[in-house]
């Protein structure tokens, strides 16, 4: 809010889900004239979670180049609270950026298991989504969802930084939706 106050009930949610306080608009009950607002705690927590998604620094193939560009200055995922973490213990998003080989698959599972709850997975690019043209290669897993559960699939070969950011926004929307239904 421009005047620094909390939003009032009934303000429209932005279509792209990119707002910060605006996402809370439908949930917040503001007492007229006072400095008190009410919001369900799980909604507040989900809002906090989606506003500071910290992915693990983990790249597998050429998609990782686009992912690095996404996190670097030009596309600057930091604008949306996305900051890379160098260890799975501190990360809550795992971006699978590239071809998953059967030799890497157990390592991916280990990294995923090392991340603390709550955690989400973005499958970036055709290889991680389905194996794509490596699908029937003897060394490749046909989709990372055979190894770990996936929240968001980003299409492309490789996806552009804009596409990966759109995937991040989709994940943010998903987290907020989970807050709305109290899941």
């Amino acid at each position: 809010m421009a005047d620094g106050s909390l939003p009032v009930v009934g303000q429209p949610m932005p279509a792209d889900g990119r707002g910060r306080l605006d996402d809370l608009a439908e949930e917040v009950v503001r007492f007229p004239g006072g400095g008190i607002a009410l919001v369900r705690s799980d909604v507040l927590f989900h809002w906090a979670q989606k506003s500071s998604l910290w992915p693990l620094t983990f790249g597998l193939a050429c998609c990782a180049i686009e992912m690095m560009a996404t996190f670097a200055g030009r596309f600057d995922a930091d604008r949306f609270g996305v900051i890379l973490r160098p260890t799975p213990r501190q990360a809550d998003v795992l971006v699978i950026a590239g071809t998953v080989t059967i030799k890497m698959a157990p390592r991916i599972r280990t990294l995923y298991d090392q991340m603390a709850q709550p955690k989400w997975v973005i499958s970036m690019g055709s290889c991680a989504n389905s194996g794509d043209h490596y699908r029937n290669v003897y060394s490749v897993v046909p989709g990372v969802d055979h190894v770990i559960p996936v929240d968001i699939y980003v299409a492309g070969c490789p996806p552009t930084p804009e596409a990966l950011l759109e995937g991040v926004f989709a994940l943010q929307r998903k987290i907020m939706e989970a807050g709305r239904v109290g899941a």
């Binding site: 059967i102 030799k103 698959a105 029937n136 003897y138 046909p142 989709g143 055979h146 190894v147």
Partner: protein, 140 residues
């Protein structure tokens, strides 16, 4: 010391291939290395033929500049050939890759493990009889 003759780069003669009996492979490699100056190990590769496997060692020299392909043929059943790793140290990982993908064993190899595929992987995937629908691990 005179400047190197840059005109010679890219003008190498066509590579020569020689077929060697498996029993004298190491002797032949030592000979071309010591007596003919093929001191640089380029690669080893393998080809599956109808009657067996052909192992090809590519070695190179720079004066005069050319590449020599030393080929050795082994049968299809339990293929095994002498390891060149103690003649050319660079051969070690190439031979591991050939073992990994073709299942050819190298006698006297210092570290005869797979190099790319997981240790427990079934079969050798570049063999022509390797079935692509091999049920393993993460296949749907």
């Amino acid at each position: 010391m005179s400047a190197p003759d840059l005109t010679r780069f890219g003008a190498s003669p066509a590579p020569i291939g020689i077929a060697i009996a498996p029993g004298v492979l190491l002797e032949a490699l030592r000979h071309v290395r010591d007596a003919h100056g093929y001191r640089y190990y380029v690669l080893a590769t393998a080809i599956e033929r109808e009657t067996g496997f052909e192992i090809v060692h590519a070695v190179r020299r720079h004066d005069p500049e050319d590449t020599l392909f030393v080929r050795v043929h082994v049968g299809k059943d339990a293929p095994e050939v002498d390891s060149a790793a103690f003649v050319y140290a660079g051969a070690e990982w190439h031979e591991r890759e050939i073992f990994d993908l073709f299942g050819v064993r190298f006698r006297g190899h210092p570290d005869p493990r797979r190099i790319l595929m997981p240790d427990e992987y079934p079969g050798h995937p570049l063999r022509k009889d390797f079935a692509m629908d091999t049920p393993w691990g993460y296949r749907p």
